[in-house]
């Protein structure tokens, strides 16, 4: 049974990986939750549709920030990952009401790839 907020989630929140911007990214896209105010921008570089580098910036809750940080690690070398993969990687008991928080960075990435 996963814990509410795993050590891994808290560590990514307190020490986010790949926080920042890329020089000349192929995709830069911001997604936000209009009510709670979480706002995440994902930037990636592509190599034949494969993501070669990823960065993020944003202000959000522990779940959305940790999810963005994890996403920038998991996505490198891939075209995309699923919602389930990202949520599972958080190793936490993400309640239904907080799924939106967990997938916000993925939403930014998907929308960014679509709008490029």
């Amino acid at each position: 049974m996963p814990v509410l907020y795993s050590d891994l989630l808290l560590d990514h929140f307190r020490h986010p990986r790949n926080y920042g911007s890329l020089e000349a990214p192929d995709v830069s896209y911001e997604a936000f939750n209009p009510l709670c105010g979480d706002r995440i921008r994902i930037e990636v570089k592509l190599d034949n549709e494969i993501i070669s580098e990823a960065r993020f910036k944003g202000d959000g809750c522990a779940i959305s920030m940790a999810a963005a940080s994890l996403l920038t690690e998991l996505i490198v070398g891939k075209e995309m990952i699923s919602d389930e993969e990202l949520i599972s990687a958080l190793q936490s008991d993400i309640q239904p009401a907080r799924i939106q928080c967990a997938i916000l960075p993925l939403t930014a990435l998907r929308d960014g790839l679509e709008h490029r």
């Binding site: 307190r14 911001e30 936000f32 209009p34 009510l35 709670c36 105010g37 979480d38 706002r39 921008r41 910036k57 944003g58 202000d59 959000g60 809750c61 920030m65």
Partner: protein, 350 residues
């Protein structure tokens, strides 16, 4: 200060020469602080006031006309006895010194008008500036602009050096005044200018709305930052000067923080509070206040301390924000916050 530059611009369109009267020293109580100005034009236009009007300003006008005729500056001492003060309805009964200088608006290069244009440019760039004027010879002036080389002189390098130290202190206090310098106690008037006070509010919630309206009424420039377009709207903030929507901590990095900047975080949400405080506290504005209880404030400080923030910076955080006046409603909380910023601005805050 905006008013001063506006007055100069207005006069420059209509007058060729004006007398600039500056309240440089007050002894006892006075309705206006040092630095108050009155302009008397050669064509008769009058702007501003060095007192509350009445006979004292009338005398300043008469003296200004003499200055315009002679083209010589003069320092006018007004020693008001209590009886006189009562008689003319000047309830404050303080003694005043007013420096009156002729200003050529038609040929600004190199004169006082030019000096004020330089000050205005500095202020527009968000910098503070001080004009130090010898009250023994008002043609001796030293201009000190924050972060720039000084220009002009008070007569000797030693006086200029001492004046720079005094100017730095007065800039911090945002207060003009006369200070005696050197072994001969030369009286020098320090006129302090700076950007208008600005209130930056992070969070566009219900407390922020009356906060911005009240701040606007108090003459502050206001900026509201939030990540939510549905909250940060003109409809909710009709008086706000700037409404910025985006990642709050990223916007925080782009804003200027001076000794005239007051920052209040009203989101009551760690997702904004933590990243914004990481940016704002090291920038050392005049005030940083956080909406929330002491307990919540302690937790936020602990988190920032764990992240490596210096204790001295954390001590600058006012939490709960606002004076303890028993505020309950959003408007009352806004009032308490602004009361604290006024106290800080006038050097009475903790």
């Amino acid at each position: 200060m905006d008013e001063l530059f506006q007055d100069i611009q207005k006069l420059a369109q209509a007058e060729k020469r004006v007398a600039m009267a500056t309240l440089v020293t007050t002894r006892g109580t006075s309705p206006k602080r040092e630095g108050a100005k009155m302009w008397v034009g050669e064509e008769g236009r009058i702007l501003g006031s060095v007192t509350i009007g009445g006979c004292v300003d009338a005398r300043v006008i008469a003296e200004s006309e003499k200055v315009l005729s002679s083209s010589e500056p003069r320092l006018v001492e007004m020693k008001l006895a209590d009886e006189d003060a009562w008689e003319i309805g000047f309830s404050c009964a303080g003694d005043l010194d007013v420096l009156i200088e002729p200003v050529d608006l038609a040929n600004p290069n190199g004169n006082v008008f030019d000096l004020y244009r330089t000050v205005q440019t500095a202020v527009d760039r968000g910098r503070r500036a001080v004009i130090a004027t010898s009250l023994k010879d008002s043609s001796l002036k030293l201009l000190i602009v924050e972060g720039e080389e000084v220009s002009g002189t008070l007569g000797t390098p030693a006086l200029d050096s001492e004046a720079q130290s005094v100017a730095t202190d007065l800039m911090r206090k945002r207060r003009s005044g006369t200070v005696s310098l050197g072994p001969d106690s030369l009286p020098v008037f320090f006129e302090v200018h700076g950007p208008p006070p600005t209130l930056i509010v992070f969070g566009a919630g219900h407390v922020s709305m009356p906060l911005v309206s009240l701040a606007h009424d108090l003459g502050l420039k206001t900026i509201v930052v939030d990540g939510r377009p549905r909250f940060a709207t003109r409809e909710r903030f009709p008086d706000v000067d700037e409404l910025l929507i985006g990642i709050p901590s990223e916007i925080a990095e782009t804003l200027a923080y001076t000794s005239s900047t007051f920052v209040v975080l009203t989101a009551h949400d760690y997702k904004y509070d933590l990243p914004v405080l990481k940016v704002v506290l090291p920038a050392k504005p005049a005030y940083v206040g956080l909406l929330g209880s002491k307990r919540r404030g302690a937790a936020i400080k602990e988190f920032l301390k764990d992240g490596g923030m210096d204790e001295s910076l954390l001590n600058q955080l006012h939490v709960p924000t606002g004076l303890d006046i028993g505020a309950d409603s959003a408007s009352e909380i806004a009032l308490s916050i602004l009361a604290e910023t006024v106290a800080i601005k006038s050097g009475r805050g903790k």
